[in-house]
Symmetry: D2
Subunit: 338 residues, 4 copies
């Protein structure tokens, strides 16, 4: 942290800042410039920049960003590669996940899985717990849903990913699921993150609707800091003033994350746009921008989906999309299973 003193700050004001820094358990390093004196507060002890903003003579306090360590490329320069049933995320590999928003019935999952498997999909998605904005909407099949998707997945030799909502559900999810998702609303549920840091299955963290990239990486840090190094970051759109789309998909998060972190970053264009006819162009754009994977909602019969049918692709659309993606991937030096 750097404390910039006002032009003309008195020696006494400078000394006071130094003293407060020391009282907070850090070392102070004063550097006198022509215009501003800058005081560094050196050390590992966490301090609140605002405590210094309020001191006399202080112009502003500059935070040296990102307390994250383990997610950083400085800690681990080479890409983390996460391998789930041979589907790889990171290190030049584009991993693909597809499936319906919600598990509705065995018939529905069977219909989706059989087609997706025939297109080479290796990981199926499907929600079992769907807490909804309105208390009056369909809320998911719960554990019954997880059983269904596991059973069907096994039949087609697929891995499964699904969203875990709270700590108490973790043991249940470990039984049925290969990648545990943390939803956007839970991105800063730090107790949940801490528990997930002790499991030995990959965790996918969705970016919160109003989370900065730095906060998102900090959330991932929680998981790595407990020993679980298998984290996939998933961008799914942020909230802005624009309402033409459900959210604003921040595709520039791809090169930003790839530069500072070794973790794979994938895109969820289904939630990121909210409308089927936007999913295809945004998927193509994501791969061109260098993402490490995609998670796409596909429903055998989107018009009758119980949830988010409007953002689900028809299976044939998914197949067409894959054909295009397979042509774009090599242009940006990526491999994908198709």
């Amino acid at each position: 942290m750097l404390i910039v003193m006002r032009h003309g700050a008195s020696e006494q004001q400078i000394n006071n800042v130094v003293e407060v820094i020391k009282k907070k358990g850090r070392d102070a390093h004063v550097s006198t410039g022509d215009v501003h004196t800058v005081i560094g507060a050196v050390g590992a002890k966490p301090v609140d920049p605002r405590d210094f903003e309020l001191l006399d003579g202080v112009k502003e306090v500059l935070k040296i960003s990102s307390s994250y360590k383990l997610v950083s490329r400085i800690f681990k320069p080479e890409d983390t590669i996460i391998d789930v049933k041979g589907e790889k995320f990171g290190g030049g590999n584009i991993g693909l996940i597809a499936g319906p928003c919600t598990i509705e019935s065995e018939e529905q999952i069977e219909a989706a899985a059989s087609k997706l498997a025939s297109y080479g999909v290796k990981i199926i998605r499907g929600g079992a717990f769907k807490p909804r904005t309105s208390p009056y909407s369909f809320q998911g099949l719960g554990e019954e849903g997880l059983k269904i998707i596991r059973k069907v997945a096994d039949k087609y030799n697929l891995a499964v990913t699904s969203e875990v909502m709270e700590i108490s559900q973790i043991p249940m999810f470990l039984k049925y699921v290969d990648i545990l998702q943390v939803g956007a609303r839970n991105m800063q549920n730090f107790n949940l993150l801490k528990e997930l840091s002790h499991i030995n299955k990959p965790v996918m963290i969705k970016r919160g609707l109003s989370a900065t990239i730095e906060e998102w990486l900090m959330a991932a840090e929680y998981i790595l800091s407990g020993g679980n190094m298998e984290v996939i970051l998933c961008e799914r759109g942020i909230r802005t003033f624009e309402r033409a789309t459900r959210n604003t998909l921040d595709l520039c998060s791809i090169p930003v994350v790839k530069k500072v972190s070794h973790l794979p970053i994938i895109i969820d264009p289904s939630h990121g746009t909210g409308l089927r006819d936007k999913v295809v162009p945004m998927s193509l754009a994501s791969v061109a921008a260098g993402c490490d994977g995609l998670m796409i909602e596909v429903h055998d019969n989107p018009d009758c989906a119980l949830c988010d049918g409007a953002q689900s692709l028809y299976p044939e659309q998914y197949k067409d999309l894959m054909e295009k993606l397979a042509k774009i991937a090599p242009v940006v030096d990526k491999k994908m299973n198709y």
Copy 2:
């Protein structure tokens, strides 16, 4: 829901929309205008507007907002008044809550409580569980903290409010706490909301950082829909592009909420601004704007606070503030205990 057809939409396109509406379990009501045909989808069955946006000939789909019912003034025209130890929120009363961000020790709570009680404060706040953005920061005293604040509060005949983080903690909180807070990050933790709908203590719901007022009211609806009618809404700032303050305190949410809902709305200027010298003007502004209460961070020794000291008032500042508030309240026809 109203579906507006494009100018020149064909009869077949209109009929198709009508059919889809019926398939989704609603009635269709076609109204032919000069320019646009508008089709109403009438009924209680939840439908997704996006399913219609994708149909041929549809120009746009207009949602008749707010599926909330119980929080609405249409359901209950007169103000809900929540009374905790004689401190009232709503119905012309301004309820006050004060105390430190975090429970650090019995001495600290004792120091704060004795002063606050002497100023007439009836409800003390203090956090026991403090999951922080960084896994490397102080995380709260847990149940020990709740015991401390309860003990001290009883000594001074105060009520207690503290934030509950997850379902499993509810029984513990019911033992020690009089108002259970739901934090901004948990505003859409619907499972937690559902559980809180069955308790018989008041719940305070903070507005999420990126939550619209409508979504916030929907979250309150979850609690009322389970039978718990005692909900206090708490505005604490939203995230915008402006970074001069920690968040942007949306004071206009006060008249917006007061118009549509009977629930009391209070303001947390401490988190809403993040800096002590902004807390006083924003508190004055909140009361002038018609809020039903305030929750303010006060610390006996903010410079040594373990958390958020920079946004905590000194006890004397709080007293000065109360004196000013007591003069503003009657101007807007409100009563407060001071």
Copy 3:
């Protein structure tokens, strides 16, 4: 500007940064810490922080904010007071401006002015040029409108404020108007600002819809830097994700601006909320928060206004509001004419 090097940055990388700083015409000041080496780029020559972000070994670049000088309290510690016909803004005075959104006819202005004058209003507002979002809407009376408002204002001994849209209109405005307004959309029309820096009448700058407070102060700096020291800042709401109100009125900009600048800051609650029933509470809140003035839309017959009738107060509402404001002002040590 401070350049923070990565942990473990090589001497060569540090030397390279120093060299680039010198090539850009600034002095470099290296300060070696335990973890990070921090290099200050000292001097007045403008440099682009991004040029350094891209250099090898650089962790991040911290800008010492605000190149503004003349608007700062460091340059001028005491409040600037702007006096227009005896109505004062700043220095403990709350200046008031009222009138219709748009000049529609002499009858309309006469009706508004006669009532407002009888309430003690000293400055009337009214738009003559109204470029609208849609090319198909009413666009204002132009110079004819300015003549009308000047004539009526003279009859009641009022000052006039109106929005100037472009450089070529300045001479015309100087003939008719006492305070020249710069609209939110023109806040960064720097050519216009430069011209207004040479006139000798006060200028009111509205905050842009997506302007940070720092950018807004920079816009004011443009005017002061040309010699015109009479600038009034006017907050009128920023664009956020919330749509319940037209804009989000950022009342915390009041204490933020008052701390760093000597310029008066006023609030426009009419554009800031967009709805009449929100104007009254937000006006009360603004004064309680410490603003130096208000500009409020009042129309003799809002239901028939050609523009923004929904956000215009009825004259009697304005009078009631003033009575309340006159009670709140002394609580926060302010004077107003009522």
Copy 4:
């Protein structure tokens, strides 16, 4: 516009709304539903939805969006193709524009143009008027700059695009420039737009930092409504809470605009990201998402650029990028000159 009445609204309230609609010059069309009565306000006369929100018994007012007509695909279903010196935008063509942010000298433009022309670039960009956030920064060469870029462009048979700042500059720009740019800050400078609606050269409108897509299309409508049908839309990022990049590039605006409008949409990844190493991935993503063109900053010596060097590509980077784009374009059925 549709006015939704509250559940249980009285006949008198409904009649009053109908009356107000008629007074405002529109026809009313009442449609009685089970829960809500919906009243359509039919006709072309502009009305303000807020006038109805304030009436008794009204629940909410739904605006049928977009008063734009000429920019809509309903008015003109097939793509508009804009052809400048054989470089085409729209209708399956990707048009390319490259060049430095600012015209600094003839040598600089010569160096850029000779290389770009050798890569097949047909349109060069360069700013002559650069009003900057700070009054203390370099402000561009003005007309001298336009003369330079025209002269060099003619030598290499290139077309020129540059930003026009205000009405009085239009005749000057018509002498030197082939495509007139309207900057983001001028997107709602309606007087400027009106003047540009009468010229017979293409106009490129950049999206405002806080402009919705609908407002942006409305700005284009201004130009078409005056008779100039040659408009190129240019996305360059919107302002959000995220600060890791200068702006948030909204690539989903591509499919949104392509669906509703026939106008070509191009992307400016240089301003949209602000950093050179983000420009390449975002350019690739833009083409994959279906854009009709790109405008990219390229500088012969970015490290010495007077403005925005950090976001300018080296010429060789541009060439590499083109090679990749040429492989992606056919995947999405687009042609480009390379």
